[in-house]
């Protein structure tokens, strides 16, 4: 990295170095090309000059008086006391918040319900429950006729190659993403879902709900 930020402009650190004269201007060619960076450098120099001017008693209208030595002697003990006070308040506040019935009652109820559910389910005898076969037998690939066999990779008429060739000429990035949404790889479905319109997502939600609420979706084949 050459001290330029993401947009190609100079970083604040480099600008400060230039303003303070640690780095020479001619060592940063970007400066001669970029109005924004030159302006930023000029402003920074003006600010530094202004601050330096205020620090000088001759230029400054108001001198800040030094606190008395007693102030520094007591500062440390005051800070310690304030922190200790805050800690004590914080601990008391935590306990009060958790011991309020509005908070503790639902938690205790939920814990009791979970315990009862656990005990009841543990004592429920196992009964084989015949479930009708699923209409979507996922271990039978033959029942997915909507998926055509893949073209051999690298074939001259591979549609994927034509798609990539169109990118940048007749296809924009978003179009390409949409076309590529059908790519089947681990996690590829996430990409496909992102490209769906609101209405298509609603349709997909309905489809998923149908699948998940079918008894077969919860049962053994």
């Amino acid at each position: 990295m050459n001290g330029c930020s993401h947009m190609g402009h100079l970083t604040p650190a480099l600008l400060v170095d230039l303003a303070e004269g640690i780095k020479a201007e001619h060592s940063v060619p970007h400066l001669s090309r970029c109005d924004a960076c030159r302006r930023a450098l000029a402003e920074l120099r003006a600010t530094i000059a202004d601050v330096a001017g205020r620090g000088n008693p001759e230029n400054s209208g108001s001198d800040v008086p030094e606190p008395s030595p007693l102030f520094w002697d007591h500062l440390s003990s005051r800070v310690h006391e304030a922190i200790a006070e805050q800690d004590a308040l914080g601990r008391a506040g935590w306990f009060e918040a958790w011991s309020r019935p509005l908070v503790s009652l639902p938690i205790l109820t939920a814990a009791a319900a979970a315990a009862v559910l656990f005990v009841v389910t543990l004592h429920t005898p196992t009964v084989p429950n015949p479930i009708p076969a699923t209409s979507l037998p996922i271990l039978q690939g033959a029942l997915l006729p909507s998926l055509p066999p893949l073209e051999p990779l690298g074939a001259p008429d591979d549609p994927a190659l034509a798609l990539m060739a169109d990118y940048g000429t007749s296809l924009g990035w978003d179009d390409l993403r949409e076309e590529m949404a059908g790519v089947s790889h681990a996690g590829g479905i996430d990409e496909a879902v992102i490209t769906l319109s609101t209405e298509e997502r609603q349709e997909l939600q309905l489809l998923l709900e149908e699948e998940m609420t079918q008894p077969s979706a919860l049962g053994a084949s």
Binding site: L122, G187, Q202, E203, Q205
Partner: protein, 173 residues
């Protein structure tokens, strides 16, 4: 206790099924559903189908569930990170004079993401394999592939349904 009931209970507790049921109850199909919600539903669907396909015992299922979820999360996280870096590379390439240093950094990041993603996925698979017997391990690999295809078929079906609906609406006088 029946494994199906464990599956249903765990999925409800983990929040995979509840949003869908709540919406179905309210008849709120017209409400917008985000991609993240759909991905969550897909995860729930995969988990249910995995139990059925691999014929997991109750004991196996209890151990399998968090490990499978970890694999799904790992994959999704890697994909998200990868997409983010790819987008920044794309933005860089759109500039007249792309900063070579930044391009190099981005490529390095991409490689790190891939390496880390592969290592995380490998660890997640090892965790899953510890729970499954050899036959189930083999079935799981086939299951994953078919699950992806099945989900893709559902996405395609959703698109087709929406397209048909639009066609019908246009044909109405």
């Amino acid at each position: 206790m029946n494994g199906r009931w464990i599956a249903a209970t765990v999925l409800v507790v983990m929040g995979f099924v509840a949003p869908a049921r709540a919406q179905a109850r309210a008849g709120a199909a017209a409400e917008d559903v985000t991609p993240a919600e759909l991905q969550r539903m897909f995860d729930g669907y995969s988990i249910l189908q995995a139990q059925e396909s691999l014929k997991l015992s109750d004991d196996q299922y209890a151990k399998f569930l968090p490990r499978f979820k970890a694999l799904l999360d790992t994959r999704r996280q890697t994909l998200q990170q990868r997409t983010r870096v790819l987008n920044s590379i794309r933005r860089l390439l759109m500039e007249a004079q792309p900063d070579e240093g930044m391009l190099r950094d981005a490529l390095k990041q991409l490689q790190e993401i891939d390496t880390r993603g592969e290592a995380d996925a490998k660890r997640a698979y090892e965790g899953i394999d510890q729970v499954l017997d050899l036959r189930q391990q083999a079935k799981f690999r086939v299951f994953e592939e078919q699950m992806e295809r099945r989900k893709l078929a559902m996405v395609t079906e959703a698109r087709a349904r929406q397209a048909n609906r639009l066609n019908r609406q246009q044909q109405k006088p």
